[in-house]
Every structure is written in structure tokens, then in C-alpha cells.
């Protein structure tokens, strides 16, 4: 493939991903209660967002839960992928099977079955139950991504390390993790995305005092999505991009 063709293709994919978001951004400046037609420019939705403390706190809750759940799921998923690839032990096929089952279960099924479990264990619904539920949702995605990466490994590297006297922890920490890093990072990103967007599982596994953003947005549809939600999305995207640019410039300075 020629260089130019490559960049054109990548550019098209990025355009496909970002164009709808540009629409969201434009309509956050729309001077109308409803995001339906253009009525002129205004900044009042940003002002309204600033005063809407419950929406802001739901957004922060969502970020907190997504960060924690993605980390927990990445930990569990990577370990699961590692042992399934590396070790032979009884019940290994069962692990495969349950990952498969979890991945294809519709979210309502995961939601209801986990809720029944939490109720049976008399756990109060709130942050901890929500965290566990989101991690349960994400683990199969991490495990599949990381496992497929292990397939590309040459086993002799691991054997060589062992011959040189490394114990299994060292092999895991210093060889497996660095080699699998692209997949581990990818798994974390997928989990973060899944958690940030989940509605049904959140609905059933959270309590009255911990509300997350998708729940608020979904229940808003009946009365129309308010432009301050568009504004919120723009602000969140803005923060992500600024953080990205900052971290890159900081890293460059370090170099």
C-alpha cells in the first residue's frame, strides 16, 4: 500500500468516527430546548450544565466506576488469559466455557442474575456491587483480546527464561506482561468504554445514592435529550483531548 493511500484510508475511518460527534458539538451551541433543528448560537447550555450539579456528579461517578472496573477487569482478564494459555489444569475448558457464556449473554441476563446473587448475599446495592458487576461484564473482553495475543508468542522465550532460573512470577512480570502490553492496554480501553456506556447492568446493580451518567441519559429520552447533555459530552471530550495533549508534551519534555 502506498503511503498516501494509507493516510487517506485512516483519515476516512477517523472521519467516520468523529463526524457524528461534530454534530453533537454543533448542537451543544444550539439556541433551542431540543436538538432537532438549528435556532441560532448560544452558550447558555454550558452555563446550565455548570449549575446542574446532579448531572456533573453522575458524570464523575461514571468516570470513577469506569476507571476502577476497567482496572479490575484487566487484572482478572489478563490473569485468566495467562493461565489458560500457560498452564494445564483441571477445569480449564470450564473457564473457556464460562468466558464464552458471559460474553454472549445479553446484558439484561447478566444484570438480573447478578442482582439475584447480590440479594442472596444480602449485599447493599451501591458502588461496590456496581464495580463488581461492571468488571464481570468486561473480563471476557479482556481475556479474549489478551489470549489471542499470547497465541503469537514463541514459547521458547518463556522456556529460555525458566532455564535461566526465573521463577513463574518473574516470567509473568518481566516477560509476559511487557510482551502482552498492547493487548492489555487494548483490553483496558475496551473495558473502560463498556463500563462508561452500560445502562441495563448499572440500572439493576446500583443503589439509590450512586447514579451514573448513562442511566440519566437513557431515562431522559422520553422527554428529549437536553442540549446540556450535548454540552457535557463536548466538555468530557475536550478534557480527554487536553489531557492527551498535555501528557504527550510532558512525555516529550522528559525525553
Amino acid at each position: 500500500m502506498s503511503r498516501r493511500l494509507k493516510w487517506i484510508y485512516a483519515g476516512l475511518v477517523y472521519a467516520f468516527l468523529y463526524l457524528p460527534l461534530v454534530v453533537v458539538a454543533i448542537f451543544s451551541f444550539n439556541d433551542s430546548k431540543y436538538s432537532l433543528a438549528w435556532h441560532g448560537f448560544t452558550l447558555r447550555w454550558y452555563e446550565k450544565l455548570w449549575h446542574n450539579s446532579s448531572l456533573m456528579s453522575a458524570a464523575l461517578n461514571s468516570l470513577l466506576i469506569a476507571g476502577c472496573a476497567a482496572t479490575l477487569a484487566t487484572l482478572m482478564g489478563t490473569v485468566a488469559a495467562f493461565i489458560m494459555h500457560q498452564y494445564r489444569f483441571p477445569g480449564r475448558k470450564l473457564l473457556f466455557g464460562s468466558l464464552f457464556v458471559m460474553m454472549m449473554s445479553p446484558d439484561i441476563v447478566i444484570a438480573i442474575s447478578l442482582l439475584l446473587l447480590f440479594l442472596a448475599l444480602h449485599l447493599p446495592l451501591g458502588f461496590p456491587t456496581l464495580l463488581v458487576a461492571h468488571a464481570v461484564l468486561c473480563v471476557p473482553f479482556v481475556a479474549t483480546t489478551v489470549y489471542s495475543r499470547f497465541h503469537g508468542f514463541q514459547r521458547d522465550i518463556l522456556d529460555a527464561a525458566k532455564d535461566l532460573g526465573a521463577d513463574e512470577y518473574q516470567v509473568f512480570r518481566f516477560i509476559v506482561i511487557p510482551l502482552a502490553l498492547p493487548a492489555v492496554v487494548g483490553g483496558w480501553l475496551l473495558s473502560f468504554t463498556l463500563s462508561l456506556d452500560d445502562v441495563i447492568i448499572s440500572f439493576f446493580t446500583t443503589g439509590p445514592d450512586f447514579e451514573v451518567l448513562p442511566l440519566r441519559i437513557y431515562s431522559m429520552v422520553r422527554l428529549g435529550i437536553k442540549p446540556d447533555v450535548n454540552a457535557l459530552c463536548v466538555v468530557m471530550m475536550g478534557i480527554t483531548i487536553v489531557a492527551l495533549v498535555l501528557s504527550r508534551t510532558l512525555l516529550k519534555e522528559k525525553e
Binding site: M1, L21, I83, F100, Y147, A183, G186, L196
Partner: protein
């Protein structure tokens, strides 16, 4: 050595605990529930019965299953076609920009999917962005009918599921030893040949992983198809959700979900056995 086996036990033990407590037990509860009947006051009635499963053998359920599998399959295929070249370009670009490019793929997905789906509606509808641009350019005179078509549904599905294809493919492509590709080139193969005979086979695990990550969740997904397709037909996801919520029939929803899982599991097993056998024959 003692340290080693303890580390191994810790890993296996924690994974087991996680899977048994949070995946197997809840699913087992549902599995048992699928043999019960819904109660009027209680969630379920006692007494075993296969009637939930018998209800599933109906032309309506078969037609839902057919459209769901078709939809998820085409979505996976489209994601692969769009995602593979992209992941390839990503893996080939200089190591410095790769993390940035990867993050740029993910950032759109941190905006709520409902907002993004409605943003797609704004683009596709009769007086939407695409039609207005095309009409302003004079390319069309009447607005194209894009909304509530199969095309709209597939655009929406690819838009929602693309990163689930790109990330495993990228991870797999990064694992391909560039020396193998170079060796192919040195032996006189052109780009197309090395790509299809070296790169693609080496990334098969990534392709399978990506297709699973797109296909399996898409089977139970209905939101995108409902909003962009007009909800004139029913998918398995609708059916299972409705059983749980609208008809308050947890046993029936559980039975439908179990059946879907078992059927898909059998299909995948069959596929893996068949491909293994084909591989072995090809080797001989």
C-alpha cells in the same frame, strides 16, 4: 520452585473464585429458573417443567434467530473489512504515534452510545447532514431514504462495534515478526502475496478474537437496530429483554438465553473441529 507453584496456585485460585462466584453461580441460578414457571405473586413457581423450552420451538422464534444471526454476522464481516486495513496501518505506523492513534480510535466511544446513535440519526435523516450536503452539491435532487433501512442499521452497528474489532487485530498484528514479511519479500513475493500468505494467516487468532468480540455481543444487541432500522422486526435481544421486563417472565427469558448460548456454543465447537480437521488434512 516452591514460590513458583504458590504463584501459580494464587493465579488459578483467584480466577476460579471469580468465575465460579460471579459467572457460574449466577448463571446456574438462571439455568434452574429456566425450568420453572412464572408465579403471580412470587417471581417463580416451584415445580419443574420443560414448557419454556417447548415454547421456544416456534416459527416466530426461528425467524428472530435467523435475523439476529444474519445481522451479527454481517456486522462482524463489515467490521473486519473496515477494521483490518485500519489496524494494519496502525501497526505499521511509527511507534511514536501509535498510542495516540489508538487513543483517537477510542475517544469517540467515551461519548454515550445513545447520544452517538442519535447523532447518526441527525446525519442520516431526510433533512439530515448527508442529504443536505449532497443536495447543496447538486448531486441529488430528492433526499435519499437512508433512515429505517438495512444500510442504516449496518452503518450503526459498524459505528458501535468497530473498536472491538480493531483492538484485538492491532494486538495480533503487533505480534507478527517483521522478519517473516521481509523474508517473503526477499523470496520475490509481491506485497499482496506476502500480505495474504504471511500476515493474514499469522493474525488468524486476532481475526477470530475480533469476530467473536463483535459477533457474540451483537447477537443480543437490539438498540441500534431499533433506532436506525425502525423496529419493524424483532431480534433475539428484544425477545429476551421483553420476557424479563414486559411479560415479567424470568423463567422464559432465562430459557431463551440458555438456548441461545447453547446453540451458539455448539456452532462454534463445530466450526473449530471442522477447521482443525481441514488444517490437518491440508498438512498431510
Amino acid at each position: 520452585m516452591k514460590n513458583s507453584s504458590r504463584f501459580r496456585q494464587l493465579l488459578i485460585g483467584s480466577t476460579y473464585t471469580w468465575m465460579v462466584v460471579l459467572a457460574l453461580i449466577p448463571y446456574l441460578i438462571l439455568f434452574i429458573a429456566s425450568f420453572l414457571l412464572p408465579g403471580d405473586d412470587q417471581l417463580v413457581q416451584s415445580g419443574l417443567s420443560f414448557s419454556n423450552y417447548q415454547h421456544l420451538i416456534s416459527p416466530a422464534v426461528f425467524s428472530m434467530a435467523r435475523s439476529s444471526i444474519l445481522l451479527a454476522g454481517v456486522a462482524a464481516l463489515l467490521c473486519l473489512l473496515v477494521g483490518y486495513p485500519f489496524a494494519y496501518i496502525l501497526a505499521q505506523s511509527s511507534a511514536k504515534v501509535q498510542p495516540l492513534m489508538l487513543l483517537l480510535v477510542m475517544i469517540p466511544f467515551w461519548t454515550n452510545s445513545l447520544i452517538r446513535t442519535y447523532a447518526l440519526v441527525m446525519m442520516l435523516k431526510a433533512n439530515g447532514v448527508i442529504n443536505q450536503v449532497l443536495m447543496a452539491l447538486g448531486l441529488i435532487e430528492m433526499p435519499l431514504q437512508l433512515m429505517y433501512t438495512q444500510t442504516a442499521v449496518f452503518i450503526g452497528l459498524v459505528y458501535t462495534l468497530l473498536p472491538f474489532m480493531i483492538l484485538p487485530l492491532y494486538a495480533a498484528l503487533k505480534a507478527v515478526d517483521p522478519r517473516l514479511v521481509e523474508a517473503g519479500r526477499d523470496l520475490g513475493a509481491n506485497w499482496l502475496n506476502t500480505f495474504f500468505r504471511i500476515t493474514v494467516p499469522l493474525t488468524t487468532p486476532g481475526i477470530i478474537a475480533g469476530c467473536m468480540l463483535v459477533f457474540l455481543p451483537a447477537l443480543g444487541m437490539f438498540y441500534v437496530a431499533d433506532v436506525l432500522g425502525g423496529a419493524r422486526s424483532m431480534l433475539l435481544g428484544n425477545y429476551i429483554r421483553d420476557q424479563f421486563l414486559i411479560y415479567r417472565n424470568i423463567p422464559m427469558g432465562a430459557a431463551a438465553s440458555v438456548t441461545m448460548t447453547v446453540a451458539m456454543g455448539l456452532m462454534l465447537l463445530l466450526y473449530f473441529f471442522a477447521s482443525k480437521r481441514l488444517n490437518r488434512e491440508a498438512m498431510q
